[in-house]
Amino acid sequence: MTGPFADLLIAAGVLVGLWSLVQLIVNRPLGRTLRLGVWCLEALIAVFLIGGIAQMMTTDQDFAKLEFVGYLLGMLAIPLGALWWTRTDGTRAGTAIIMVIGLVTSILVLRVQQVWAGPHG
């Protein structure tokens, strides 16, 4: 869970966050391009979830597996919830929400890695 794909997901979350911040600064409401960015982030999270569960099932490592799966499912659900909450939102608030979601995704990848490392990691 500490490989290049996790790094890619962290970078993607930061990129969505920064992109949203730029859109906020130039006073742009939430548009189709940014929504597409969130869907791309969601696709990466889905791969991360599948890869994470596959690795969990093949390792003997001691870590909080319930918490690990919970974080992965939460990561998958959060951007979907944000897309639903902003579905009719054509304002800057929608852009700010996507900024939060991008940054939270990156933070959650780091948290997943901490859980994966276990109590002795």
């Binding site: 909080a64 319930l66 918490e67 919970g70 974080y71 939460g74 659900a77 959060i78 919830g81 944000a82 909450w85 902003t86 939102d89 304002t91 608030a93 929608g94 700010a96 929400i97 939060v100 979601i101 939270v104």
Partner: protein, 136 residues
């Protein structure tokens, strides 16, 4: 009611999302704690569960945004502020009584102190979106 002053418009939409994230985080944390290690620190884990309930109530109330929901949001967020101040102070003053962290321990330091700032922002937002009464 005046929709432009509703709690779920403008910045309120972002606030609802942040409260929802804390509701998810606190609920997930307390479910794991209560189901796997409740006996280790029942007070801290019950406080986590209480925080989770407060965040859920505040999220729903802010998202609904009608007049009665404003009162519920005000009560929940005021309780949240009191909770983070009391638990934060006690966890620093009596660390032996709080060996396991809750969301509000050390004023929410484990969550970047957002649990301390969030209720202040929530109360400010409720005040800012307060319906205006016009005199006849």
């Amino acid at each position: 009611m005046d929709e432009t002053r509703a709690t779920h418009r403008g910045f309120g939409r972002v606030l609802v999302v942040i409260y929802a994230l804390f509701a998810i985080a606190a609920t997930a944390r307390s479910v794991v704690q209560l189901s796997t290690k409740f006996s280790e620190a029942p007070v801290a884990y019950l406080l986590s569960a209480l925080a989770a309930v407060i965040y859920i109530v505040a999220t729903v109330a802010l998202a609904r945004g009608d007049r009665s929901s404003r009162r519920v949001a005000m009560a929940a967020i005021s309780f949240e502020l009191a909770g983070v101040l009391i638990v934060g102070t006690l966890s620093l003053a009596l660390p032996d009584e709080f060996p396991h962290a809750s969301v509000w321990s050390s004023f929410g330091s484990g969550y970047g102190y957002i649990p301390l700032v969030l209720p202040a922002v929530g109360l400010w937002w409720l005040r800012r979106t307060r319906p205006q009464h016009t005199s006849e």
